[in-house]
């Protein structure tokens, strides 16, 4: 009945076995926490796009009403997570890596939950891709795997999608939100997957799930009847759930860091995204919540919650019975790729897949860094076949050319190398620093290059004008001059030669100019 595959699995080229710690948060099914006193809804947009407000302080907004949209097409619509009054619109701390404040709408809920929905789509199979894309964009859907990339931006322009990958390979040892979500919203996720299949034009969907989730596998197996959807069980190994790594495990296609999976015809989505797509299309509801794992040894009752965006993290921690005495670190995301935050006075974002409140016993502080003895334990751990011990030397000495030629840019920062390092070297930190250095250097080179080009272009133009002027003067002079007898021929011959030379010169200049224009466009293309 089900399309359970006897498909070949391509084993991850590296990876580490990390014992899962998901049981505490999976004990109870997903529930919704009580409505918080205040919601802090971040208006975060993708890089280089700014939010444009559609509501003002003091406005009463309905649940699902648009609060802001992006300044360009790749922007994200942000909706009110519940009905209520906007108290303030102000920059506020959010759980991001930079620590920079983001513009947020502070909403006072009225506890009425008054909705405004978009018109439901009766039969999505009769809708065009464009219409479904537009709905996904209107609903403000972004990827819930952790990067919060706008879903419509992933879909638009991807013309030759052949495979949709549904990523339930949640390999971070503490995160269980996708598994919990699949248990609660199994049929909704499958419908969302079918909508994504239809919208993207993909002919098949591969569901990648780790063999450590037998209950979810059983449930999926029982519920799947669409012959286009194939369930593929992959070995539980960190980081099997990384996008390119999962695509490799399922199909054997290797995609480098500088190539987008859509360029190779793969569209990869998280089950949470599929659920949001289903809600947007079938119910007309925008994306205003997500399932988040709240876990860690500092909590009395870890759980998975369906949380409204903007819910303050400290309220969730209180709900789970946080023991502030023993709380050592607060991490957004998992224990291996998460970001530590210093304050719990921050809201849940679309990217907040896990809140990990841990203790010294559970995740002890890192041991002091010792010298690299090139033991090479990191080599079989690396899922992109890099040599972390070599990159470490390059990064430490800021030998950026060497680092680049050793493919530092392909590092996915999964931290498997640092996890196994017996010298406790924070390798990922070194790699991030070197990558930042490389970026800065490239920017400087780019600035220098474009100034030089501008200067050369300017010089060439000035020179060309001068030549033209001289040419005109020579021509005028030749016309004005009364014709002498003998030397005339010589002179006119000289003038002709001069004119010819000037023409050649002008032509050369023209060529040079157009050539420099060409290099400019070339560069524009490669920069893309």
């Amino acid at each position: 009945m089900t399309a359970e595959s006897s498909r070949k699995i391509w084993p991850l080229p590296g990876g580490v076995y990390v014992e899962a710690n998901k049981a505490p948060s999976l004990r109870a099914p997903v529930t919704s926490p009580p409505l918080p006193h205040q919601l802090v809804i971040a208006l975060t947009q993708p890089a280089s796009i700014s939010p444009i407000l559609c509501a003002a302080e003091g406005d009463y907004v309905l649940k699902g009403q648009v609060l802001a949209h992006g300044s360009s097409d790749a922007g994200i619509n942000i909706h009110a997570s519940t009905s209520g009054t906007i108290i303030r619109i102000t920059p506020h701390a959010v759980p991001n890596t930079s620590g920079e404040h983001e513009l947020c709408v502070i909403l006072q809920p009225d506890r009425e939950e008054r909705w405004t929905r978009m018109a439901p789509v009766e039969n999505f199979t009769e809708c065009s891709s464009e219409l479904l894309y537009a709905r996904i964009k209107d609903a403000g859907i972004r990827g819930l795997g952790g990067a919060a990339f706008p879903t419509h931006a992933k879909l638009v322009g991807a013309t030759n999608i052949h495979t949709l990958v549904l990523n339930i390979s949640e390999c971070e040892p503490f995160i269980s939100c996708d598994e919990a979500l699949v248990h609660k919203y199994l049929n909704e996720v499958i419908t969302g997957t079918q909508i994504l299949l239809h919208a993207s034009g993909a002919t098949r969907c591969l569901i990648g799930i780790e063999d450590s989730k037998p209950a979810a596998i059983r449930a999926l197996r029982a519920a799947l009847s669409d012959p286009r959807i194939e369930l593929v069980v992959v070995p539980a190994l960190y980081p099997s759930g990384a996008e390119r790594q999962l695509i490799y495990s399922l199909t054997g296609v290797e995609i480098t860091a500088d190539t987008l999976p859509v360029e190779k015809g793969f569209l990869c989505h998280n089950p949470g995204t599929a659920l949001a797509v289903m809600r947007a299309v079938i119910h007309g509801e925008p994306m205003i919540s997500r399932v988040t794992t709240v876990t860690g040894a500092a909590l009395a009752a870890p759980a998975n919650y369906e949380v409204l965006f903007g819910t303050p993290i400290n309220e969730l921690l209180q709900l789970c019975g946080v023991d502030n005495e023993n709380l050592s670190r607060l991490i957004i995301g998992g224990s291996l790729m998460g970001t530590q935050i210093t304050s719990a006075e921050v809201p849940v974002l679309a990217s907040t897949n896990c809140i990990l409140a841990t203790t010294h016993e559970e995740l002890p502080a890192p041991l002091p860094e010792q010298p690299c003895i090139r033991c090479g334990f990191c080599v079989p751990a690396c899922p992109v076949l890099l040599q972390p011990q070599v990159l470490y030397w390059d990064s430490r000495q800021l030998a950026l050319t060497d680092a680049t030629s050793h493919h530092l840019a392909d590092c996915i920062e999964c931290g498997a190398c640092a996890y196994v390092c017996p010298s406790h070297i924070p390798l990922v930190q070194y790699f991030r620093a070197a990558k930042a250095e490389i970026r800065i250097e490239a920017e400087q080179v780019h600035i220098a290059d474009s100034s030089r080009q501008r200067f050369e272009f300017h010089q060439a133009r000035v020179h060309a004008e001068k030549v033209q002027q001289e040419l005109r003067r020579a021509e005028r002079a030749a016309l004005m001059k009364p014709a002498p007898e003998q030397p005339l021929e010589v002179n006119s011959a000289q003038a002709t030669i001069a004119a010819a030379l000037a023409r050649v010169k002008a032509k050369k200049l023209e060529q040079a100019l157009s050539a420099s224009n060409n290099t400019k466009t070339d560069e524009g293309e490669t920069k893309r």
């Binding site: 010792q370 003895i373 076949l385 392909d410 017996p422």
Partner: protein
């Protein structure tokens, strides 16, 4: 939250320490050491007891002079491993000052002058050994005849006399003798291999007397390290394979021109110690798996060449140092393919 220090991902670690790896290496030395003491007397143990504290003292001094945290560096056990490997390689008859010179060269010159653990291009223990061999060839070739070959083994008092630099009452010659590899080299060309083998008091059951068990002991330790995944198979296997291959080719069916049987080469001298404990030193070995195969085979070939055609009876130390010198070149030519990219 108790402290304000931010940590970068990953926030969790497999809590393996270098010290743990080094302890396993030390543990793996025990069978080989036992065989050495059984067949060659107390000398090796005395070397070891003398060199370990010396190495720790030298390491502390060097780390202190370099203004680093002494405690953290001593905890990595690397100095202890260097001392133990050197003690296992040195003849059991050395006076204290000579082995002290060896460990000083190893720790101070070969390791710390190059920047300390992880930065040394040459294996410290083998550098110490090779320098001693060049400076004091008499002392360094003064091996004992193994138990069971007819000569008496020095007792504890005699061994201590060796250590203190005093000639034993019975004289040096009462105990010392050529090793199997040495005596085989001396008679080369005079006898058929089988003839030599049948008459020499140094032949054992399948290789050199005594040495065959010492090598078997280090082989056991090596298999333990492989099982514990402290080392990978690439270097020892390719080293032993290259040595076997050369020995097979030049064994010449045991003629008078024979350069020794594969079993003789595998289980005599420092073969197994070199293959599993010395050549696998990660700091000074090739990094990629393919590079390690090349590196091991290169060392195996040089061991055979040194034994057969140089004026030294054994060549493990020099072979390893040659291999160390070739590492940058090997690494440059054996870079592995990155995910999704052409090789």
């Amino acid at each position: 939250m108790s402290n304000g220090t931010l940590t970068s991902s990953p926030h969790d670690h497999q809590r393996v320490k270098i010290s743990h790896l080094m302890q396993q290496v030390l543990l793996a030395c025990v069978p080989g050491l036992t065989a050495l003491v059984f067949f060659f007397g107390w000398g090796t143990l005395i070397n070891l007891v003398w060199l370990v504290p010396s190495a720790l003292a030298l390491e502390s001094a060097a780390v202190w002079l370099r203004k680093r945290a002494v405690r953290i560096h001593l905890q990595d056990y690397s100095a202890v491993v260097t001392a133990v490997l050197l003690a296992l390689a040195l003849p059991p008859t050395l006076p204290w000052w000579l082995s002290l010179l060896g460990i000083t060269i190893a720790i101070v010159i070969a390791k710390h002058l190059f920047g300390g653990l992880g930065n040394n291009p040459f294996n410290p223990a083998m550098t110490g050994y090779a320098v001693l061999l060049l400076l004091f060839p008499d002392y360094m070739t003064r091996w004992l005849e193994p138990a069971g070959s007819g000569q008496t083994l020095p007792g504890l008092m005699d061994s201590l006399n060796f250590f203190l630099g005093r000639e034993p009452d019975a004289g040096f010659d009462a105990f010392t003798g050529a090793t199997m590899l040495d005596s085989f080299r001396e008679q080369h060309g005079a006898n058929l291999f089988t003839e030599f083998w049948n008459t020499s008091p140094l032949s054992g059951q399948w290789s050199a007397r005594g040495w065959e068990w010492v090598n078997a002991g280090f082989l056991m330790g090596g298999i333990f390290l492989l099982y514990k995944r402290i080392i990978s198979w690439h270097i020892p296997v390719s080293l032993l394979a290259a040595l076997t291959l050369f020995a097979l080719v030049f064994h010449d069916s045991g003629s008078s021109q024979s350069l020794g049987s594969p079993l003789l080469h595998l289980f005599a001298g420092g073969t197994m110690l070199g293959a599993f404990f010395i050549a696998t030193d990660p700091v000074t070995a090739a990094t990629s798996r393919r590079g390690q195969l090349v590196y091991g085979a290169f060392i195996g070939a040089i061991i055979f060449a040194m034994r057969s055609w140089s004026s030294y009876p054994d060549g493990v130390a020099f072979a390893v140092l040659c291999g160390n010198a070739a590492v940058p070149l090997i690494d440059a030519f054996t870079r592995p393919r990155t995910f999704g990219r052409a090789p």
